[in-house]
Amino acid sequence: MSQTTTLWIVIIAMAIGSFGLRFLFLGLVGDRALPPWVLRHLRYTAVAILPALVAPLVVWPQATDGTPEPARMAAAVVTLAVGIWTRNVLLAITCGAITLYAGLFAFG
């Protein structure tokens, strides 16, 4: 299977899947309530998947072939801390980027 085929499978599956998730209740389920245990698990999907995806990239970055690297590590800590502190996503990205470039300049 070529790269392009794979990409289009992903795009089409995600287009259908994302619309499906948005339409699921509004369009199909109507006013029926979900069992509480399902909702309880759904509440934690994003807070579980996002950090699980990021953690290996922070500890073993691809750009350094998996060697832990201080600039990226520091940028990750600063971004998360600013995000928790200020609840401002853009400010956290900005502070993280500044830390990354300062770190790459200092250590690189």
Binding site: T6, V54, I84
Partner: protein, 237 residues
């Protein structure tokens, strides 16, 4: 007619949605850049952004495809990030469920974090709004957001190729996700879910086909749900 289009509600939504342009613009720009860097064509990048309309899931898919993860894992992980949309859909159903099917389908396509947050807050404050007013407000709130999502993705895809490797864009996705994660950690249950997910992701990093990510996600969700139940029993909120 409760489903008539209500102009003043629509424009109030537009006004409330305007500040989000500042958030959506840079985020879309970054997606356009990262997608082109990952080798997607302009057409592929734009189709992706216009049909999926969910930044975090789009970034997840890009990241995993660049790691050559199996297609199944790419789709499952990215859709897992989007499961919150099903929750939004469920919580808006009591407000918009009475609309004709085509309007519900339209609302579903345009359901994003920003207009969900605005609409659910507004509907709670003003329970006497009619279904038509609610729909108009909801669509108004997404009016400044969606076109900027498309436009800035396009600009990002155009300039993407001219960005030098010294800019360390490999780390754009981790920083974006960590920034989004901060404000989501509202309770002890959220923090516990995230910590367990991180620990499992590192422990299971050796598992082939990136399945460690799925395992870590499930472990994190189960932890969050457990801790929430436990906190309810203890009477902590």
């Amino acid at each position: 007619m409760t489903t008539d289009f209500d102009r003043s509600s629509y424009w109030r939504g537009v006004r409330d949605g305007l500040p989000f342009v500042l958030v959506v613009g840079p985020f879309a720009l970054l997606f356009g850049v990262v997608a082109t860097e990952a080798g997607l064509s302009l057409f592929e990048t734009m189709t992706f952004a216009i049909t999926v309309v969910a930044g975090a899931a789009q970034f997840t898919a890009l990241q995993l495809m660049s790691e050559n993860a199996p297609t199944f894992v790419v789709i499952a992980s990215a859709l897992a990030v989007n499961l919150r949309l099903a929750m939004y859909s469920a919580s808006l159903t009591p407000h918009l469920g009475a609309l004709p099917l085509w309007r519900r389908a339209l609302a579903a396509y345009f359901l994003v974090d920003q207009n969900y947050a605005l609409a659910s807050a507004r509907f709670d404050r003003q329970p006497d709004m009619t279904t038509g007013q609610k729909f108009a407000y909801f669509m108004g709130a997404v009016t400044p957001v969606a076109p900027n999502w498309y436009l800035w993705t396009l600009i990002g895809a155009w300039i993407g190729k001219s960005i030098p490797p010294e800019l360390a864009l490999d780390f754009a996705v981790p920083i974006t996700f960590l920034a989004m994660l901060g404000p989501m950690l509202r309770t002890g249950a959220h923090v516990a879910a995230a910590l367990v997910a991180v620990a499992c992701a590192l422990i299971f990093a050796f598992v082939p086909y990136n399945l460690g990510l799925i395992l870590a996600g499930i472990a994190g969700m189960m932890t969050g749900a457990r801790v929430e139940l436990w906190m309810e029993k203890q009477g902590v909120s």
